[in-house]
């Protein structure tokens, strides 16, 4: 395998693995927090069991997220030393804040997990909230650093060197806000639907109160997020249209610059002939989505030299997949809001539970697709418009072997974590099944 491809694949595998654990680590603390809060308010012990069970899940995900994150902080330099040598001082500041946020999260989680009897119950609840807040902040800091790669700012680039570095300007670059809200909402949506889906599957088998409560809490978070997400996505896309027109063109396989540009849904991009086959085309809608005007001109890929195009098909398919899933989840969320007033009744409907079960992995598939959209869509640049990814590759040969090794480790870890969680769920259920 080509060294460059191997390095990119290793980065993709490492980030793709970490992002799942990071999302859950950001969001699930809020679920356990709400469950404990409900317990304090209602005194219903089911909520306490739920909070404790979810806290265990958080601990497992947090630990795996922490080690995979530690690995990433090294991999950046092991695979892309030239990039880090130049970019480290510019975009590194959010990482130092992230260190603090991560540490606070770890401490608060330690208090939450082991402090059930030692802390005052309201203080205990508060530590749960701190886990959630610092988790979300960690995510935002990391995303802000990534956003800098898309919208580099806070420095002058003269003869291959950075001068006049302003870390604050770099951190609050033009892409940070749109990426931060899009990612945070995505984390809530993906984790919410995943948790609700798992409990829906379990509820179909055993009608336990704990699963019903779990579905309600997780789905409430997920639904709010899923309704907000298209709005957030729209803002993000408009931002990309402004900052990285080539990337936007790749999302849509939009080859020719035109006014009243059509929104392309699905289809197979044919890069050689610069067209998209078998797609649904909505004239004017791409202009509207990118610039808020049906007649606006949208730059096509033809404006850019071909060697500066991102890989069009991957970006296109990932974008379509992300948007498609986003729309589907928004529909489920709309149904949830419509059905809330006779909620209890709905939980007895098989089709509804099945729908939730189907949605279980979808949010995370969309998160991965979105990550591919933003990362592959930035290629061939590692710092957009400044440094090419291939120019920052490590001189060390044999990266394919480290890629294989890391991949095998993460695949094994994925299986073990899944197995572990299924055992945890069985343990949780067995308590109720024996009693009932």
């Amino acid at each position: 395998m080509d060294e460059f491809l191997a390095a990119r694949m290793q980065m993709a595998v490492s980030l793709g693995f970490h992002i799942v654990f990071a999302c859950i680590g950001m969001v699930m603390p809020w679920f356990m927090f709400v469950a404990e809060w409900k317990w304090l308010r209602t005194k219903n012990p089911v909520y306490l069991d739920l909070a404790k069970a979810w806290a265990k899940g958080v601990a497992i995900f947090f630990a795996v997220g922490a080690v995979s994150g530690t690995v990433l902080s090294f991999e950046l330099g092991m695979l892309w030393p030239t990039f880090m040598k130049h970019a480290g001082p510019i975009f590194g500041m959010p990482f130092s804040w992230e260190g603090t946020a991560f540490f606070v999260e770890a401490i608060a989680l330690g208090l939450f997990l082991y402090g059930w009897k030692r802390l005052n119950k309201w203080v205990h609840l508060y530590t749960g909230m701190v886990v959630g807040i610092s988790g979300v902040l960690s995510g935002i800091f990391v995303v802000s650093a990534n956003a800098w790669m898309n919208a580099p700012s806070g420095f002058d680039w003269i003869n291959g060197q950075a001068f006049n570095i302003d870390p604050v300007k770099a951190m609050f670059n033009k892409a940070w806000f749109s990426q931060a809200h899009h990612m945070t909402i995505a984390a809530f949506s993906a984790t919410g639907f995943a948790v609700a889906g798992v409990h829906a599957v379990l509820y179909m088998k055993n009608k336990l109160e704990i699963h019903a409560k779990a579905i309600t809490i997780a789905l409430a978070f997920a639904s709010v997020a899923a309704v907000l997400q298209p709005l957030s996505g729209d803002l993000a896309a408009k931002n990309v249209a402004k900052l990285q027109p080539a990337k936007l063109a790749a999302f849509e396989s939009h080859f020719k610059t035109e006014e009243k540009a059509a929104l392309i849904i699905g289809g197979i991009p044919d890069v050689e002939n610069r067209e998209v086959k078998y797609a649904i085309k909505l004239p004017g809608f791409l202009s509207f989505l990118a610039h808020g005007d049906f007649n606006a001109e949208v730059k096509g890929l033809e404006e850019f030299p071909e060697e500066e195009w991102p890989p069009v098909p991957i970006t296109h398919y990932s974008f379509q997949l992300m948007v498609g899933i986003g729309m589907f989840l928004m529909l489920i969320a709309a149904l949830f809001f419509a059905g809330t007033y006779k909620w209890k009744h709905w939980l007895e409907k098989k089709w509804w539970l099945r729908l939730l079960a189907i949605a279980t992995p979808l949010g995370f598939i969309a998160v991965e697709a979105g990550w591919i959209v933003t990362e592959v869509g930035r290629q061939p640049w590692i710092i957009y418009g400044i440094m090419k990814t291939e120019d920052s590759l490590t001189p060390m040969p044999g990266i394919q072997y480290t890629f294989y090794t890391i991949s095998v480790v993460y695949i094994i870890l994925t299986f073990v974590v899944t197995w572990l969680l299924s055992r945890q769920i069985k343990l949780l259920q067995s308590k109720y099944l024996k009693n009932g």
Partner: protein
């Protein structure tokens, strides 16, 4: 400003050795002790577990923000041992968590334990090898030279290997101190006191071997130590503290014990840093990377320092609360 950040980096490194070291050493100590004794080790170390990775992450972040060429050079030349450390960190971190949270069944627990213990040794060893590679200064920046010269030789040599073994003993020793001062059972206090003493003796012997292998490798480690007044002071104080340490160990004075062991480790790290400074990375071409050459601009250092100081002001009270909640009360519950 860069100097201030470098000092914080060294402090983070020290905290990683002291706190993370006790964690890593916990796995090694479990391997050395059998049966119920190993359970006692894991119970003594578990409650402060989650937080310790952060010291390493902070070291890495300070490096790539404040001294980016150090970060890039080291991770290129020492790519392989660092990768091995990372694989070890993944294995032991997840195995420890899985063991802690999985259902109480014999077979999986035994597997998790085995992975945790052996990967603790593995990780610590390669951490030491990496540090050895840094000290020895065989790092080559001419990437045209052969694979062996550039990517293997800087860390695969007798000196680095003996540094790896030294690190294994050091971390096991730190975990021994931690365990002794944590437990109440008389028999096990005696058991772990004896083990800690043995580890200390091996550590001193291994330290001598480290100096000997440095000499063989042509590295003037001993001479450097003697020529730096700070390093000499460190060695003298560390040696003078040994009898006191022995006394506290025999009398089982938990807090004093931790304090002296912490002091001695601090002295080792400070002594090393004193002979290295102002060089951050030694290379075999004679063009060493100094703090002057490596440091990022002042503006960057300033914001890094602000972030670190604010971070410390947030983290330390929180950590204090964590320790206060768990360390001064009896059984940890899960």
């Amino acid at each position: 400003m860069a100097e201030a950040n470098l000092i914080i980096l060294v402090i983070c490194l020290l905290l990683y050795v002291l706190l993370g070291g006790a964690d890593f050493g916990g796995g090694i100590l479990e391997l050395l002790s059998r049966g119920k004794a190993s359970k006692i080790v894991s119970r003594a170390i578990a409650p402060v577990w989650e937080a310790n990775h952060v010291w390493l992450i902070l070291v890495v972040v300070i490096l790539f923000v404040g001294f980016p060429s150090v970060y890039s050079t080291v991770l290129t030349a020492l790519h392989i041992p660092v990768l091995l450390v990372l694989l070890g960190i993944i294995a032991r971190g997840s195995a420890f968590t899985f063991r802690h949270y999985d259902i109480d069944e014999k077979t999986p627990k035994a597997i998790y334990s085995a992975i945790f213990r052996y990967s603790s040794v593995f990780t610590t060893f390669f951490l030491g090898v990496t540090v050895g590679g840094l000290i020895l200064g065989e790092i080559s920046m001419d990437y045209q030279l052969g694979f062996y010269t550039v990517y293997i030789h800087p860390w695969l040599n007798w000196f680095s290997v003996s540094m790896g073994l030294f690190m294994v003993l050091l971390f096991a020793f730190l975990a021994g101190i931690f365990t002794v001062s944590e437990i109440d059972d008389k028999d096990y206090i005696i058991y772990f006191t004896r083990m800690t003493k043995r580890l200390l003796i091996s550590l001193v012997v291994m330290g001598a071997i480290v100096f000997a292998t440095a000499k063989v490798a042509g590295h003037p480690l001993l001479k450097d130590f003697i020529n730096s007044p700070i390093s000499v002071a460190c060695i003298v104080i560390a040696t003078l503290a040994l009898p006191a340490f022995w006394y506290f160990l025999n009398k089982n004075k938990g807090n004093w014990l931790r304090l002296t062991a912490g002091l001695q480790t601090t002295l080792i790290v400070t002594g090393w840093f004193a002979i290295q400074f102002p060089v951050l990375v030694k290379t075999n071409s004679g063009h060493d990377i100094t703090i002057q050459a490596a440091k990022a601009p002042e503006q960057v250092q300033l914001f890094l320092l602000i972030a670190l100081v604010v971070g410390v002001l947030i983290i330390f009270p929180a950590m204090g609360f964590l320790y206060k909640t768990f360390k001064f009360s009896e059984e940890p519950e899960s």
